[in-house]
């Protein structure tokens, strides 16, 4: 058992089964990014997917909408800086739809952003649990939260949900993205507290 802090009572007394270990409940929506917020125009936004053999697919805004967005409701998100936000609502296109009919041996995907950010994710694990999201709480996604389009992978720490998403690169072998090269975990499961190396 850890070390007690005499006189510290804390605010939230009842244990919550919906908060992963070490997380606290946040009602605002803090921002974490490694650099300035890039301003990406939805009209000029494109998403490019590249397979391990070099095959490419590209979508623009309308092309993304044509894949069939859905409402993602009552979703909990967990940031590695220890805040969690419960019951959030998003609109986005399931990641699976971007991969429909594709021949690939890839087991990982590197998501890339307009500002050069990258993050690696296990492909099979996130299929059915990841979206390309463009609305938060019924409104267009704000730039500081990754608008116009970000990845949404709620079951992993939120740095895996790349903001300003512009590319998906399928990979046979895993490779570290930006934070993963800078001290953070390759996988990032909040329930197992996979925060750091």
């Amino acid at each position: 058992m850890g070390i007690f802090s005499p006189g510290f009572t804390g605010r939230r007394r009842e244990p919550r089964s919906d908060l992963p270990p070490g997380q606290y409940l946040e009602n605002g929506f803090p921002v974490l990014s490694f650099g300035p917020t890039p301003h990406v125009d939805a009209d000029r936004w494109q998403l490019t997917l590249t397979t391990e053999t070099g095959e490419r697919r590209t979508w623009d805004w309308q092309g993304m909408l044509d894949l069939g967005p859905e409402l993602v409701e009552n979703t909990d998100i967990h940031c590695v800086t220890a805040w969690s936000k419960l019951g959030t609502t998003w609109r986005g296109v399931p990641l699976d739809r971007f991969l429909d009919g594709l021949q690939t041996e890839a087991r990982f995907v590197m998501a890339g952003s307009a500002d050069g950010y990258t993050t690696n994710l296990p492909l099979q694990e996130i299929l059915g649990r990841a979206w390309v999201a463009y609305e938060f709480d019924g409104a267009p996604l704000a730039p500081e939260h990754g608008g116009p389009v970000r990845l949404l992978v709620p079951h992993l720490y939120f740095w895996k949900s790349a903001k300003w998403l512009t590319s998906l690169r399928l990979m046979v072998d895993d490779a570290p993205g930006f934070w993963e090269q800078n001290g953070y975990n390759m996988h990032g499961d909040p329930w197992r507290e996979e925060r750091y190396w």
């Binding site: 070390i3 929506f29 921002v31 490694f34 300035p36 890039p38 220890a82 001290g183």
Partner: protein, 240 residues
């Protein structure tokens, strides 16, 4: 870096301002780089825990780890660290964390630092690290605070500025010192243009503070022509 919690003993502490306190911690952690942070964990007697991140203000490699915590009156963790924790008592820490928002003495390019409020802490670590290394690359600090009495490390910074070791610029957002030539107000593009190193100097820029400050500072800097890849940011929290 270690991903497990270790005990840390508070060996010394002092007020930095009426609402903030510097804590000196003794903990068996790996040496830090300038700009890194620790996670601090508190445990109530019923086992309830709360953790938050705090940047290190001590120089890279320092034997003792130093943080400066600003009290948020409604906050869960910061009031305890500022007013509750006693010298000799222990908390738990983890880290040091982060490999991106760091400055290393091997960097020779000019450095522009921009701090909003407690965002000065990791930048102070960079300044102190450069002092210890006898670094000569130009370093300029723009430090935005509400009022003169809210400044951290005032004597140390003023002394470094007086000796020409850093170029120091204050911006006061609510209240200015007597006789101050400018009015109180938040940073603007015009002010940043006047007070920060221009893109021609090729600086690496470190911006740290509340999210609103970081956003307000980085947008104009990019418009002046600084490359986004040369602007490193650390966002402390949602408000400003």
């Amino acid at each position: 870096m270690s991903s497990s919690w270790v005990p840390a003993t508070l060996v010394d502490a002092w007020r930095e301002t009426p609402g903030s306190r510097t804590l000196v911690l003794d903990a068996r952690l790996e040496p830090a780089l300038a700009g890194q942070h620790l996670d601090i964990r508190l445990t109530a007697d019923d086992g309830y825990t709360a953790q938050r991140s705090y940047s290190l203000g001590s120089p890279a490699g320092a034997e003792r780890f130093q943080v400066t915590v600003d009290r948020l009156d409604q906050g869960e963790v910061s009031p305890y660290l500022v007013d509750g924790l006693q010298v000799g008592h222990q908390i738990e820490v983890r880290g040091p964390v982060g490999r991106w928002f760091v400055w290393e003495p091997t960097q020779t390019e000019p450095i522009q630092l921009l701090a909003g409020g407690s965002g000065i802490v990791p930048l102070m670590s960079m300044i102190r690290t450069r002092e210890l290394a006898g670094g000569t690359a130009p370093m300029r600090l723009l430090y935005s605070v509400r009022a003169p009495g809210d400044r951290f490390y005032t004597d140390e910074l003023d002394d470094l500025a007086a000796r020409g070791r850093i170029d120091l610029q204050y911006v006061f957002t609510r209240e200015v010192p007597e006789g101050w030539p400018a009015r109180a107000g938040r940073i603007t593009g015009a002010l940043l243009h006047e007070l920060t190193l221009p893109p021609e100097d090729g600086p690496t820029i470190y911006v740290c503070g509340p999210t609103g400050f970081v956003e307000a500072a980085t947008k104009p800097l990019m418009q002046f022509g600084h490359e986004a890849s040369r602007i490193k940011t650390e966002r402390f929290g949602p408000t400003g």
